[in-house]
Symmetry: D2
């Protein structure tokens, strides 16, 4: 596909979306007021002393440096290579391939550190945590290796594949409640009853320090990096990475990216402190970057992170990014992991043109079934899968005429359906809803032109929805 | 369509189905035994003195002759014309078009008589009846004309269109229960409470006598008729018609026809008396001849009817019969009404060849939505609507090849669907499920041959289901 | 269905369509100018002396009276009965059921007369004609009865069923050319070569006189009729009927109706003489009233007809009319035959309210396959078949929620299809295109409201197309 | 998915397929006879002196060792890591990730060596080659880097994406002919006219030596490897790898794998020399491993390769293998690249249980559109995508009953379609064809059981096709 098109699209987007000002939240931590507390935050028995909104813990660059040595033997030193996409995106682009960790995400880092840092006593008793995804697997894996009992409380809605994966990795898995907060409340109850340590997946200080080691590896591999693009969900990764990177190379610019469907960090910024984000909460139309779907970002993360620019990227670019990584990098990256590339594709980052940029591909745990859905969506966004309605004769040969035009144009028919209802006053005509595969946007345009020549106003081409 | 084919089909059927012996049930009325009584039959307060299994009333030919004069002014003298189908069916065939009555069925006859025969006192108080269909409309219509209050109890499952129709005709409509017997029980309760007369739709003696007048009209129009073919549900029509016809012309043969999905009269014959028919009861896969769907035939009807041959016709011929009447006679006839022609089409009546035959088209109340379904089924039965699965290349042009063969053969595509799942080991091939319209069975055969030449074993032609 | 709705709809139509003035074309016959002559008209060897634009023959009422006696034994005296629709349409409405003729249309009348009027010499040599439909069958049937050789030239595009039907009726059938005018030119060549008589299907004077006998029967059955509504194609029927009726009862109003997709008579009126109608010619989107699809109306018909009002009825009402005749009258009427009722349903005839009206149902030859299509279209027009798009969750239960709402509302799902392409930025949502069956427009409205409550803006209800 | 199931399946396969004996073709090279020569082989002007069936060149282990040093700077040293799948497959399994080369396949190796080995004169004049895929891209890429003009002749049927890719990499691309052999003939003509060197993509000796370096890297990383599993198309990779590996570690077992849809190497073995393989030639139902689709394997490759066991793997396991690599390894591997894992999944390699095994994932160039198709097929093979037909009531609620069972079982509906044609004698029932997503084979079994309880014989579950 022509990249000119991507950039044109991007420019349209840029014009529409407010560009957000330079942001550095550290100096502006708000004081908690009780009425804003929600959920388990309000209940003292539920309180997590390591993640306390009133007393956030700021992780330092030094903490990360210490972490790096500790965890070296337990994680994969993932590659950070220059990509062929550099030319098209007009910058020197490197991918930090964190999805190549054993459990498929950067969460292996923090989990290993947090477990290593336990006292011997704690190691024996074990830990408890809540997660429906990557953190659970990382804890299970690292706990299994270290022989530390790990109990994971998951909501009953957690995908079976993740439940099974944790159990295969020898973690104790308890299914409780329908939502994350219900599972977390139960985990806290277990903590209280069994005197376990609760390890928050995106805000425990060790988690932050552990994740930060990815930033140190980037600096080792690409010492003259200009920009590091980091996905933001609860904020643990960007907190750790920015703390480490700004400590050693204060001029490296840290760009955080979240989905405009779950802008929890933006909400925190606008309110001066982490509070639940209403948009994220209303899960009706979820983001494909579901790994970033954290209602309230971490207190410690928010206090620690040193972000130069924060972006909310339109959802539509995420599918395209996943597709580009599949085809260009032969890499399976989940929505959360691809959001950095989505930001680049969106054209919202003109400042990186000509610069050295590292984009962290933070995870790859996406179901094949979802991947199939994403591929189709990505193909649509790239103009390689098109849908149209057309009215043709319902007599012999009427459908053949349409199908022959498509075959002659080398467009492949994926799906075809008759609709004799919508055009109710023409008995001898039928509506045809057709999905076709084209080579690229230009080819799609040619097919459209040819069909318009044949069918005129009887052709309705499905325009892409603008988010 | 070639009628040779119909007959070949018929012959196959005839070989398969047991030919039933000559039947004349009158002389063999059984004695009731209490344990066989079911439903409302057992409850004395529910008892209908006019329809008593222990004391069935035999309606005579004279009763019908008397009825004829009485009702002359209140019903339509329906035509009984020779049909163009005579040649194809190799008999002199006449259709008695009872669907042309005002409410669309022969039920107008009996209803009118029953109401006329009320005492002045009864006329004032009014009557109550149970029906989900034609009898309800007939009672409503005739009651409205005569100014007699008619209350119809319908099950809540009755089609809205019938409920509305009855109300438009000024009847009082009460919806009660989910099944016919529940509605009937409620009607009996009303009868008892309000001292009304209950008029059974297929077994009240006046109903039988009234319906019988259709037989007299037949004799008037076609005095030398050899066979009269009569649809059988509860049995009121055949009872009245046979009583009248055998009275005047004992040599005319009376043939009764029911659907092999609801063979209630056969059940009565096999048991020597009317008992509930298990097959009819299990309504899971209902017959299109739903007007004949009576669980236990009438006691009086069974005692009265003089039937020479009784047939249970395979369901598949009913759709064909409806379709033939639409196209050949420009007549809309419901399943119950078309069952006589279905019997002729089935080839189960070789004795009528060369004879003078009257077939009673007893009703035409079929919803347009159902009619659409029936047309499609009839077209399938006639080889004019075909379905097949074929495996084609999923590359550009793969579908075009198929569609072009069809266009070239002048077959019209009604529906097409991709199935990429069933043939899971061929990634570049796709299954196509296709419904096409052909001119007739011979044309369908040519299309099939052509497709087989092109696709060989990858073609699976949908064989007609044999019931 | 509520008739209020029909009338509201009609009123909207009335406002939009120009009401046409009172018309009586007889006195204003134009002189032919050569450049307007088209097709076979210009070629002297192709000339039909019985249908000459320069010397049109005016058929008189007396001609029709004479015809009536002649043909009495050879045609069906069709019924003309009051219909139950009278109440809903607020007039005393009678249907003249010409579709009950042997070959399914009024054409039997004229054909019989034309053949009877041949000289003995001509009867031996036989006649030739051109027709793709009803006239061909009528000629074949009557010729067969009278033993007169009939040759029918049909375009190769004629439906196989009609070709077969003519051959079954013993006519000689020649397939020639792709269009009607090509077939006609060949027929003229045969006439010249074999010295046969050419009998024009809608303009031969005997044809006009024969068709007019239907008008006389109407006057016999309903002497005090106020309005007679007559379908207009080539104009033979309205010419004959109006000549006869105005002769005997000059005050009876004659209303002609054609489809607004083939307004050939209007074109003739606007030009003062019959000329080819461009709209009718462009057959791309044909009318269901294909029997009326005559490019230039007859010269004699135009000179003879005495029409009080001429209407071009919007196509959409024709399907509704066919459907109403199926359900209400148990009658299968083709589009051309139903156009009179369509005019009444359209609300374009407010003058008939409270009057005695006869509507000629002139033919019933409609293929079952087409009938199926028409039923669906009619159901759509009546709000009994609805289509909508809705966006639902693509997770387990997402579809169930939708289907349960529909089941709870007693709406039946006819067709359901997934569309994951159109809404490309929501990976966990899917579009559903759904066709449902509802009881009537009010019920459809309730279903729509319920779905809107559940899905809000994600619901797109398919509005009926306004022609 | 349960791996027990995989093995059970495998055993069934093993029983069915002939196990092939130990094979070492080197000593048994046949003499060419003229009548067996085909295509360009017979024409002296088309002859490639580097790939001569009469004088095959045997590449030695030493050749590969020399090659390794030469090309070190121009290719990616790809990782060879232990995979999490080891447990499930009961061996110590390593993936050699050759798809991580710059152009997405191992072809970068040989192409670089062949170009380096050119004389200065040849480097100036440039080279010509024929390829529709990976070799073309590799030549284009390496030529571009080295400043050597590369001309690629591709058949016109080559995917646009590959044409574009080669042009982006600065190669001269000529489209000629519809098939590979036509393109090759044109390339030879160019060679003759312009005095270029022709470099055969799978049989030039330098190509063989270059590809063999992957084997040396494997020995470096996993010195104690027991088995190396190598995909076989033209045979260049297995020739080079086996020459190198057997030279250094003669006990390492080399297993070659091709698809049972294009068993060209088996054909060569059976004939004692490379001849065109009829099965491969008949491309109607192509293999997803299209990179292996070489009609005649290379003469030098066949003479060089030292293979311990050669397998033809059933196509169905390839989709599963691709899917497993996507989900388990976050790797996009094309069909040819995944065939080694397919062999392991097929259970045809019981000898590797408990051993150290390296599987070469040789390429990743698969279109996203094809990937989508493969994912679905893989899901079917794993029991995660199921299709069934069921007969349900066509009344309101009939579909809801089915959909509710599925929702209750947490099966997600992917596609649903009505079929009212196939069950033609039940007017009130409809067939439903349904595709659902299930968690795994066990879950699919539960859903099937539940549906069978509800629908009995009316349920037809789509069995997987056995190849």
């Amino acid at each position: 596909m022509s990249d000119t098109t991507v950039f044109q699209e991007a420019r349209r987007y840029r014009d529409r979306l407010m560009s957000r000002p330079w942001i550095f939240p550290e100096s502006s931590l708000p004081t908690s007021t009780s009425e804003e507390n929600t959920d388990t935050d309000a209940d003292p028995t539920m309180k997590d002393p390591y993640c306390d909104g009133d007393n956030p813990i700021v992780v330092t660059g030094n903490d990360v440096l210490v972490a790096k040595d500790k965890i070296a033997g337990g994680i994969v030193r993932t590659p950070c290579r220059r990509t062929r996409m550099s030319e098209a995106l007009r910058c020197e682009l490197y991918f930090k391939k964190e999805y190549m960790q054993y459990t498929g995400s950067f969460k292996d880092r923090g989990a290993f550190l947090a477990l290593l840092n336990l006292s011997e006593e704690q190691k024996k008793r074990g830990v408890v945590t809540t997660s429906a995804g990557n953190h659970a697997q990382a804890m299970a894996f690292q706990g299994g290796k270290l022989g530390i009992p790990v109990t994971v409380v998951m909501p009953k809605t957690a995908p079976l594949v993740k439940v099974t994966s944790c159990r295969d990795l020898k973690a104790g898995v308890i299914l409780h409640g329908m939502r994350f907060d219900e599972a977390k409340a139960h985990a806290m109850k277990l903590r209280n009853e069994r005197d376990l340590l609760y390890i928050d997946g995106y805000d425990h200080p060790d988690i932050l320090a552990g994740q930060g080691t990815a930033g140190l590896e980037i600096l080792e591999d690409i010492p003259d990096v200009d920009y590091i693009i980091v996905p933001v969900g609860g904020g643990g990764l960007i907190a750790g990475v920015s703390a480490a990177v700004k400590h050693l190379s204060p001029n490296v610019q840290i760009i955080g990216v979240e989905s405009d469907r779950c802008p929890s960090w933006h909400t925190a910024m606008e309110n001066g402190r982490p509070i639940p984000c209403r948009q994220t909460q209303s899960g009706a139309k979820q983001s494909i970057a579901d790994g970033l779907n954290v209602v309230r970002v971490g207190f410690n993360s928010f206090a620690t992170a040193k972000i130069d620019r924060m972006l909310a990227v339109p959802e539509k670019f995420i599918s395209t990014a996943i597709l580009r990584l599949l085809e260009g990098e032969k890499s399976v990256v989940e929505g959360a992991g691809a959001i950095g590339l989505a930001a680049l594709l969106s054209g919202m980052l003109p400042e990186v043109i000509g610069k050295k940029v590292v984009c962290i591909l933070c995870g790859g745990n996406i179901d094949a079934t979802v991947l199939g859905l994403v591929i189709d969506r990505g193909l649509v966004q790239e103009g390689r899968l098109c849908r149209f309605m057309v009215v043709v004769s319902d007599r012999p040969g009427g459908l053949a005429r349409l199908v022959n035009i498509l075959a002659h144009m080398a467009a492949s028919v994926k799906d075809i359906g008759h609709d004799r209802i919508s055009l109710s006053s023409y008995v001898y005509m039928t509506g045809i809803a057709c999905t076709i595969e084209t080579k690229n946007r230009a080819h799609a345009g040619e097919v459209r032109t040819k069909l318009f020549e044949a069918y005129g106003e009887d052709l309705k081409w499905q325009e892409e929805d603008d988010d």
